[in-house]
C-alpha cells in the first residue's frame, strides 16, 4: 500500500498528475523550468552579443577623441536616412531592455522555484564537489552587475551623475557637432571610486559569463562529445576577452594613456 505523505506542495503519492492548463504556445513553453532555462540562454546570448560589441566599439577610444565620437554618432544615426536619426538605436535598446527583463524574470521565478524545492536546508555543512565559485554566485554577480548597469547608464548615457555627458563638440574637419562621448568617459574615469567600481563590476561580469556562457550549451542541449571539451574553453575565452577589453578603459584613463 502506498504511503501518503503530504508536503505544502500537495500530495506526493497518487497516480494522477493534474492536467495542465491550456496556454498560448510560448507561455506554455515558458511555464516549465526547462523552458525558462531556454529563455535564460537566449536572452543571455543576446546580451553576450551586446557586451562583446560594446567592448569592441569602445576600443575606438584608442583611436582618439574624434574616432570614438564619430563611432558614437554613427550608432545614433544608424541606417539614416532610411530611418530617422536615433530610431534604430532605440529599437536595438528596446530589444536589449526586453532581453534584460526576461532574463531577470526567469532568474527570479527559477530562484523562487528552487527555494520551494528545498524549504528546509541541510542542517550540517554541505561539502560541494564540483560546483564552482562562478556557478554558486550567479545571483549575486548578476545583481551587482545590474546595479552597475544602472549607475553606468546614469553616468554615461543620461549624464545624471556626469556633467560632461551630453555636451557637444565639433572636431577639426567636421561640419556638424557630435556628442563629446570621449570627454565624458575621461571625466568619469578620472574619479577613482568610479573607475574602481567599473573594474570590480566587470570582473564580476566575467565571473557571471564564465558560468553563463558555458551553461548555455547545457541548457540548449547542444551536447556533442566532439566539442564538449571546447565549451569550457569558449566560456573562459569569451569572459576573458570582454573583461580584459573593458577593464583596460579605466586603467588607460587613470594611467593617462587616454585623456
Amino acid at each position: 500500500m502506498a504511503q501518503v505523505v503530504t508536503s505544502h506542495r500537495g500530495p506526493v503519492t497518487g497516480t494522477a498528475t493534474h492536467k495542465r492548463k491550456k496556454r498560448p504556445f510560448l507561455l506554455d513553453l515558458y511555464s516549465t523550468a526547462v523552458g525558462k532555462k531556454y529563455v535564460m540562454g537566449i536572452t543571455g546570448v543576446a546580451m553576450m552579443g551586446f557586451v562583446l560589441f560594446h567592448m569592441i566599439g569602445n576600443l575606438k577610444m584608442y583611436a582618439g577623441a574624434a574616432g570614438l565620437d564619430h563611432y558614437a554618432h554613427f550608432l545614433q544615426t544608424l541606417l539614416y536616412p532610411l530611418a530617422p536619426k536615433g530610431w534604430v538605436l532605440w529599437i536595438l535598446r528596446g530589444g536589449l531592455i526586453s532581453m534584460l527583463f526576461l532574463h531577470l524574470h526567469a532568474a527570479w521565478s527559477l530562484t523562487r522555484l528552487n527555494r520551494h524545492a528545498r524549504p528546509m536546508k541541510y542542517q550540517s555543512k554541505r561539502d560541494y564537489q564540483i560546483a564552482n565559485f562562478a556557478s554558486r554566485t550567479m545571483r549575486w554577480t548578476g545583481i551587482i552587475v545590474l546595479a552597475f548597469l544602472v549607475w553606468h547608464l546614469l553616468d554615461l548615457t543620461f549624464g545624471v551623475v556626469n556633467s560632461e555627458t551630453g555636451k557637444m563638440i565639433t572636431h577639426p574637419g567636421d561640419e556638424e557637432s557630435v556628442k563629446a562621448v570621449y570627454a565624458s568617459i575621461v571625466y568619469s574615469f578620472q574619479r577613482t571610486p568610479v573607475a574602481f567600481f567599473y573594474v570590480v563590476a566587470n570582473i564580476l561580469l566575467g565571473i557571471h559569463l564564465f558560468h553563463g556562457a558555458w551553461s548555455i550549451f547545457q541548457s540548449f542541449g547542444l551536447n556533442n562529445p566532439r566539442f564538449n571539451s571546447w565549451t569550457r574553453a569558449f566560456a573562459t575565452g569569451f569572459a576573458s576577452i570582454v573583461v580584459i577589453g573593458n577593464v583596460s578603459f579605466p586603467i588607460a584613463v587613470m594611467a593617462g594613456i587616454v585623456g
Partner: protein
C-alpha cells in the same frame, strides 16, 4: 589485515515523523573494524540502542550491494558520503579515521518528505516514471532475442543511463533540489533505443512537466553527476533539454492536424 577504528562520534538526524521537528543526536561508536560497511556500522549502533532500550535509528536499506538504490544518506555534507561512484551501502569504514565525527542527515527536498529519522519518501520519482518512463510493448508470445538490431555504441550509451538506480542522490546533492539527472537518465535510456522511439516526444514532455511540479530547476552546477553512485553524466540533462524543445514543437505541429 583489518584495522580497528576507535571513538567514532556520530551526529545523526532524528525526527519522529513527517511533521515533527528533528534534531541531531550524538552517539559514540567505541570500536569498529574498518572492513565494516557504513550501514553495518549503523546496524551495530542500532543493536546497542535496542539493548539499552532506546529506539533504533530508522534508515533505508535493501540490497546492500549498490544496485537497488534504497540507501540514502547525506554523510558529512555529501550524498552517499565521500567515496565517488558508490551508494552509502558500498561505503566502508576504511574511508574514515579514528576519532572522526561523522554527520548523517536525510535527503532534503520538498518532494522527498521525511518519514522518520533518515528515511524519506521518494515516490515523487514514481510520479515521473508513471508519466512516461515506459514503452509500449506488444503482447503475445515473447519475441526472439535480438530481433531488433541495436549497435553496440547505442546499447552502451543507453546502458550508461539505464544504470540509474533511482536513489535520489542527484536531488539530494543539487543545491536547487532538482531531479534533472534522474529524469534525464530515464529519458535518455529509452530515447536512445529503437523501442523507445514511438513515445519519444510525448514521453519527454510528460516527464519534464511532471518533474516540474515537484522539483527545483537545474543551474548546471554538476553536483548531481559527482554524487551519482552510477556516475551518470549531465550529458543526459542536455539530451533531455534538446528533446523537450523538439517535443514541444513536434507535438504542437501534430496536434494542429485535425
Amino acid at each position: 589485515m583489518s584495522n580497528h577504528l576507535k571513538n567514532i562520534t556520530l551526529r545523526i538526524w532524528r525526527q519522529a515523523g513527517p511533521a515533527a521537528k528533528g534534531n541531531f543526536e550524538t552517539h559514540v561508536v567505541d570500536e569498529i573494524t574498518d572492513e565494516a560497511s557504513f550501514l553495518e556500522m549503523l546496524d551495530l549502533l542500532n543493536d546497542k540502542l535496542i539493548t539499552e532500550g532506546k529506539e533504533a535509528v530508522v534508515f533505508d536499506h535493501d540490497c546492500r550491494e549498490g544496485i537497488c538504490g534504497t540507501c540514502s544518506l547525506m554523510i558529512d555534507g555529501q550524498a552517499h558520503g565521500p567515496q565517488r561512484g558508490t551508494a552509502s551501502c558500498q561505503l566502508h569504514m576504511r574511508q574514515f579515521k579514528s576519532n572522526d565525527t561523522i554527520t548523517i542527515e536525510p535527503w532534503r527536498a520538498s518532494a522527498f518528505p521525511i518519514i522518520k529519522d533518515l528515511m524519506v519518501d521518494r515516490s515523487a520519482f514514481d510520479r515521473i516514471i508513471e508519466s512516461g518512463g515506459y514503452i509500449t510493448a506488444e503482447t503475445g508470445g515473447a519475441p526472439d532475442a535480438n530481433l531488433i538490431p541495436i549497435s553496440k555504441i547505442v546499447a552502451d550509451a543507453a546502458m550508461d543511463s539505464a544504470a540509474c538506480i533511482g536513489c535520489g542522490a542527484c536531488v539530494a546533492a543539487c543545491p536547487n533540489g532538482a531531479a534533472n539527472l534522474f529524469t534525464g537518465a530515464k529519458i535518455a535510456h529509452l530515447s536512445r533505443l529503437p523501442q523507445g522511439q514511438a513515445e519519444r516526444y510525448s514521453r519527454v514532455e510528460a516527464m519534464v512537466e511532471t518533474m516540474d511540479e515537484k522539483f527545483g530547476s537545474c543551474t548546471n552546477h554538476g553536483e548531481c553527476e559527482a554524487a551519482c553512485p552510477k556516475e551518470i553524466s549531465i550529458d543526459v540533462i542536455a539530451l533531455m533539454n534538446k528533446d523537450y524543445r523538439k517535443a514541444k514543437f513536434a507535438n504542437r505541429k501534430d496536434l494542429a492536424r485535425k
